[in-house]
Symmetry: C2
């Protein structure tokens, strides 16, 4: 049985995701598809446009059979930790194939690059350190270090592209974890990840879709051709009820946190390093928006996403000590089920006894370490909604979708 895993954020689910999903199913001859999806806060250090529950609905309607959550402790992290968490969950669920989208589009250069960097690990690490010392960001240093090595005469991958970096780390995580998952990639079409402008055809990047949605005046209709109907309906409803989430909605809380926090508390926050905490305290009082705050915080040494992740951890009050286990283990300690269709449910029922990680379907009964971070993140995520019952992650059950009747059970 071919069980294909995809690692996704779906912020929001768009035609490019649908294309990737279809191609993955074809290419791997998938009998079942599992998505590991970031929760309410994403890898780039942003709140998701729609909650993990809304995004799970879109994933199921798009044809995914099982949706599980990448815990906060792995999701709002740099590529390496993100990848390790996601791969460990897919592996525990019995995934046979992993298929990721990349700018590269061909798996061999990833394999070449990985084996080359492993062979030259010491040299590679030294080069990375050198570029970090020169004040470059970590991803930039990685890319520069790689280029400075005496490269082999075979196709390698461009590690300056965001989806190539993620893909490289998926492959590395599979290798490091000794997983039997077979990894393949599909070329992302039409839109580059960072594209800000909508192109004419039916595929646009999630970044450009979000920017269009939040552009002056709310131009939701402009993205209608770029997303499936089930996405459009949800975005439209959320926009009408004012519940599309955006960092700016959280800025009053981050601001409040920073004007009241004591320095020694801020030092404890995960990813508050090398004087960033002083910088945050110094600039907060002269900035009245998240955008202005980030622009003042930004330096060459840190990527925008690295700094946004620090802001998320500050907002959720996540401490260095909370992440200790994550950094040591690199493996997710549980599988949190968000949703499934009938096929997904029977698969789970069959495999239940063999799962190598505890399966969480009901938080009330199980609270393994790190799950409290997900619960807290859900509460924080709901802050702009001004509704207390939305905070209640505890009483949520996994979503159940009837894929033939197209109804919710």
């Amino acid at each position: 049985m071919n069980v294909t895993g995809v690692i996704v954020e779906y912020n929001p689910f768009h035609n490019g995701h649908f294309y990737h999903l279809q191609k993955s199913i074809d290419q791997t001859k998938a009998d079942l598809v599992i998505a590991v999806m970031s929760g309410n806060f994403l890898q780039r250090g942003e709140p998701a446009l729609l909650s993990k529950w809304e995004r799970t609905k879109m994933a199921l309607e798009a044809g995914i059979d099982l949706v599980v959550e990448l815990p906060y402790a792995f999701a709002t992290q740099k590529a390496e930790i993100f990848a390790n968490g996601a791969v460990s969950i897919l592996d525990a669920l019995g995934t046979t194939h992993l298929c990721f989208g990349s700018e590269q589009g061909d798996i061999q250069p990833f394999i070449n690059t990985l084996s080359f960097t492993c062979e030259h690990q010491t040299e590679y690490d030294l080069e990375i350190k050198k570029y970090l010392k020169q004040g470059h960001s970590y991803p930039k240093s990685q890319a520069l270090a790689f280029r400075s090595l005496n490269l082999p005469d075979m196709p390698i991958v461009d590690l300056s592209k965001p989806n190539n970096i993620l893909g490289y780390h998926y492959l590395k995580a599979v290798k490091d974890q000794g997983s039997a998952i077979s990894v393949d990639t599909i070329k992302r079409v039409a839109a580059e990840y960072h594209d800000a402008n909508l192109t004419d055809n039916s595929i646009a990047s999630a970044t450009s879709i979000r920017q269009t949605i939040f552009a002056e005046g709310g131009q939701l209709h402009k993205i209608q051709s770029k997303v499936p109907d089930f996405t459009y309906r949800r975005l439209d409803a959320a926009q009408k009820s004012g519940s599309l989430h955006h960092w700016e909605h959280y800025y009053p809380y981050l601001f409040y946190k920073l004007i009241t926090v004591q320095l020694e508390e801020l030092v404890d926050i995960y990813e508050a390093e090398e004087g960033l905490e002083h910088r945050m305290l110094r600039i907060v009082e002269r900035t009245d928006s998240f955008k202005a705050f980030m622009e003042e915080l930004k330096t060459k040494r840190y990527t925008w996403t690295r700094l946004q992740r620090l802001c998320v951890h500050t907002l959720t009050n996540t401490k260095k000590r909370d992440m200790k286990g994550t950094l040591t283990n690199k493996l997710a300690p549980y599988i949190r089920l968000l949703g499934m269709n009938q096929k997904g449910q029977s698969y789970l029922n069959k495999r239940k006894a063999d799962l190598s990680l505890p399966l969480i379907t009901n938080i009330r009964k199980n609270t393994p370490p790190l799950l409290d971070l997900d619960i807290k993140a859900a509460k924080v995520y709901a802050l702009p909604d001004h509704s207390t019952n939305k905070y209640n992650e505890i009483s949520r059950s996994p979503l159940r979708y009837d894929e033939t009747e197209k109804t919710w059970l």
Copy 2:
């Protein structure tokens, strides 16, 4: 020269305050009047309706010559610490007379009560402990303990009344600090402190005035006859611009704080004691207003105001260690000047060299310990105003009022 001190909150300044001020001037033959006023957060653990700057203006327009701030570390405190802070500031400014309003209205019973409790201190303290153990609040235990003593055959004061308690502590602070200030009292007229309903005549309590202002539909006109014109104008303008401050406006921030704080951090908050921190964490998620939160938090053991003060300290992230100096010294470490008229200014100029505490007119130049708590409290106080420049306590200069021309300089 008779220098009369009054200890005030003016939340807001009303006709009863005006009456008290006039009577104090007459009774003490005052040549100059100094007000020590709570800053943005008050003794009862509430944000002031109007900022300390607006309330300073009202005090100056009412005829007070000098307005200085009772620091946060003394203002948002139980009567004993509040009184010690205020008296130490008045003493440092050369005050000769202190005149307070009380339900009692005659100073002799205060003197009798103080000397009697001092003589029976050990017995009194034991009795207080006994009632505390029975689960009564501290003020209630004090009142019960006092009544259980074998009382002398002379007029004593009823320590169950809030202004009598404050007055008792003013007198005690003057005695304990060895101050030469002569203390007198004036009977509060017409309205009891806790009166919730407006009476027909021109004097109403600040509590009833606030309740009328915040009653359904905004009934500001109903209190017009209870306050001077200069108060009414300010309340009216603030109501129209939506900048009358109320605990409910801060509840989103308190809520956010409590859903993200870690237990060991909450334990460090000043006045978080005997499991109150567990209680706060347990109830916060089922309450969607400050009122509902307080009603769930309230027990017989703690007064409403004691719990509100805990909420203010939680909101401002004020730690037990921040208050250590206050609790040991009981004396204010500086005099923060908020406003003055010309008479007040020449008095200050003459006395400047003799002041026993540093005079703070400009925060940029002087930052003695504890002043950072005032600065932080001002930032937190401004949160609902959504305007960054309002946070800037640093650049404020004391207000200067021309009492003959009735203009601001």
